[in-house]
Symmetry: C2
Subunit: 390 residues, 2 copies
């Protein structure tokens, strides 16, 4: 007799368990826990954002709303992009979604099908791969190389992976988990490649402001692309405004795709609560100061952990250029899943094992440094103290 | 040169536009509008539910949370089911989703694949069909028959539609849009059929309390099924507690599927905001009185519109046994899409055209009567007054 699980669709049955949750569960309930495994800071959403949502609830805005998002949020998104990229954006190209994750899912539905392939530079945030495979398509990893000056993605590796079934390339820069940032030359090459092969680019630039170069933000496809290039930008309120728990993201794509995304939203979650969207409007319109403080906090967190591991010979660190993770390896540690389980049980420090991040990430650990400095210092202290024991 | 749309996946490109939105847009901005097109009442969410969400926001519950839903909500769901069906339910079989719609999407992902078929009795709420086809599977309509004593679904029609590719049957009872309610005999036959052919049942019993028979609720698969039958129940907070805009639903399924649904939630929206979930907890635990009033209101609305159309010879009404819609036809009206557009432009009454509800629904109009009595009376008055002109 087959089990219930065996009777499910292969894509339902095979969707992978999050590689982080297992470690999370091992640490649940520890009082001295310092959780650095998630892509989440330790500050709650600022009060002015919460107030905006509460005011909307008080106004009784609890009915169905626009599938593409309330006009005020789409306008605020256009303005935010205008300020960030120094050019004009139409509100028509923004579609509000139920998270950056859902933006990815909808983008995948829009550009891939069973039997088709999406190229995914790896190591990578695992959810993109899972979203592609749940949709019945194939996520094809393209390995980034760990070179002396950090992670590198080579255009020729992307091009070599293209087959007649390839419909899209996913590019996440600044990158979770590696901290890698694509230079403008690479973006230009990618865009040229996509145009030549008629591929879609799914551009995840969620961490663009968490950038440790000289400029205020990372290089972007917005700097070089035309309005109607085949690029679907996926983004989220989560990281910039400490709104991880709100589940609000957006897609930015050519307005010609508006009806398609409206339909895909209709048939998945049918929109995002109005009252949550009013929180997002407040964040975009009045959250510049908080956002600058968030970025500064991550920058200081980065310095703190880099300094903490300096001179610890077993810890191999490549300073990240962007995002807010340290993706590092430890001499002698090959089973990072077991290491992360042991670490949290023994020391209360929660890291994400590299096994959660696909091909090429297996030997690494991910530490989120968008957190309180004293907690980061204490976490690094505990790790360094525990290392000699293993 | 092909357009951007042509370069999308077929399932993205072909997802249908909602047949209701077009009529909705035709009526937008009319001051005297009486909107009866949506499956939504006219009351905002009760204040005690909104307060519970606001209190959670005040507590700073703005972080990532459990993919399956906060424990308190899963317990409240178990208790709600226990009270309703008079047997014990484990919180482990409930998974919180971002809407009844998302519950359907996740169920479809769990049990179907490209090339597989899902049987969908029709006329039907169109979103189930769209969700199946976006996933690359095929929705196969099985026609309900309009007989003298109302809509009927025949088991032999279901059985005749089964092929080797069939993986699931969708059953919505009480039914949106027809108001049809499956009798227990039919449910037993369906369950027996599903067991024999190894099919999943996706059971949509969202309207179970909106039932106009003698009992307190409609017959349910819960009355006859075993814990581990291949049934995935999809449900929503929307209708019972006037929470359409909150986007919270749930799946009830054998606990053996828990990890699968956790994964599918992870890779679509990654959970539902904690603060919204606390609203749902309040609704389930303290919303019995409001719910009873909602049901009574629908019952009165039903009487009101039935009475209003009584004796109007061109209007053909089959009194609905459940849900809160009148699905009726008008002699001489064959293009219901055009009729609904003209009606809202000429009279300000918004109905949903039957063309939105698939095979067999084309000649009907759907009117939602879960609304204020004076508005319903006025709507019926306007329709009856306008009918002689067409």
């Amino acid at each position: 007799m087959t089990s219930l699980i065996d009777r499910l669709s292969p894509e339902g049955r095979n969707a992978p368990e999050s590689g982080i949750v297992e470690v999370f569960n091992a640490g649940r309930g520890r009082e001295d826990l310092i959780p650095l495994w998630a892509g989440e800071g330790d500050l709650p959403t600022p009060e002015f954002i919460r107030e905006a949502a509460k005011n909307s609830l008080d106004r009784g805005e609890t009915f169905y709303t626009y599938q593409r998002g309330i006009p005020q949020l789409r306008e605020a998104l256009a303005q935010y992009h205008q300020d960030l990229y120094g050019k004009t954006f139409s509100p028509d190209r923004f579609y509000v979604t139920g998270s950056g994750m859902q933006s990815i899912q909808l983008a995948v539905q829009a550009v891939s099908s069973a039997g088709k392939e999406v190229l995914v530079p790896s190591p990578t945030w695992p959810n993109i791969t899972a979203a592609v495979e749940i949709h019945g398509a194939r996520a094809v990893p393209v390995r980034k190389r760990a070179e002396d000056d950090g992670w590198q993605l080579h255009l020729e590796d992307i091009e070599a992976a293209i087959t007649p079934e390839t419909t899209a390339v996913f590019l996440n820069s600044p990158c979770n988990p590696t901290g890698w940032v694509a230079k403008e030359d690479l973006l230009k090459g990618m865009l040229e490649l996509a145009r030549r092969h008629n591929l879609w680019i799914i551009a995840d630039e969620i961490y663009t402001l968490f950038y440790y170069g000289d400029e205020a933000r990372a290089p972007s496809f917005y700097d070089i692309a035309e309005e109607d290039d085949q690029i679907i930008f996926v983004n989220s309120m989560s990281k910039n405004w400490a709104m991880t728990g709100w589940r609000i993201g957006w897609i930015s794509a050519p307005p010609a795709l508006g009806q398609v995304f409206e339909n895909l939203i209709q048939y998945s979650t049918s929109g995002v609560p109005s009252f949550s969207q009013w929180g997002a409007v407040a964040a975009l319109n009045d959250g510049k100061e908080f956002l600058a403080a968030q970025v500064l906090r991550a920058r200081k967190g980065r310095e703190c952990v880099l300094q903490g591991f300096q001179g610890v010979t077993r810890v191999k660190v490549m300073p990240p250029d962007g995002a807010f993770y340290l993706f590092f390896s430890i001499d002698g540690v090959t089973d990072t899943r077991q290491f992360a389980l042991d670490l949290v049980r023994q020391t209360g420090v929660g890291l994400a094992p590299g096994t959660a991040f696909g091909v090429g990430g297996e030997n690494y650990l991910r530490l989120c440094y968008a957190r309180r400095k004293d907690h980061l210092e204490e976490a690094v202290r505990r790790i360094n103290a525990w290392l000699p024991e293993i």
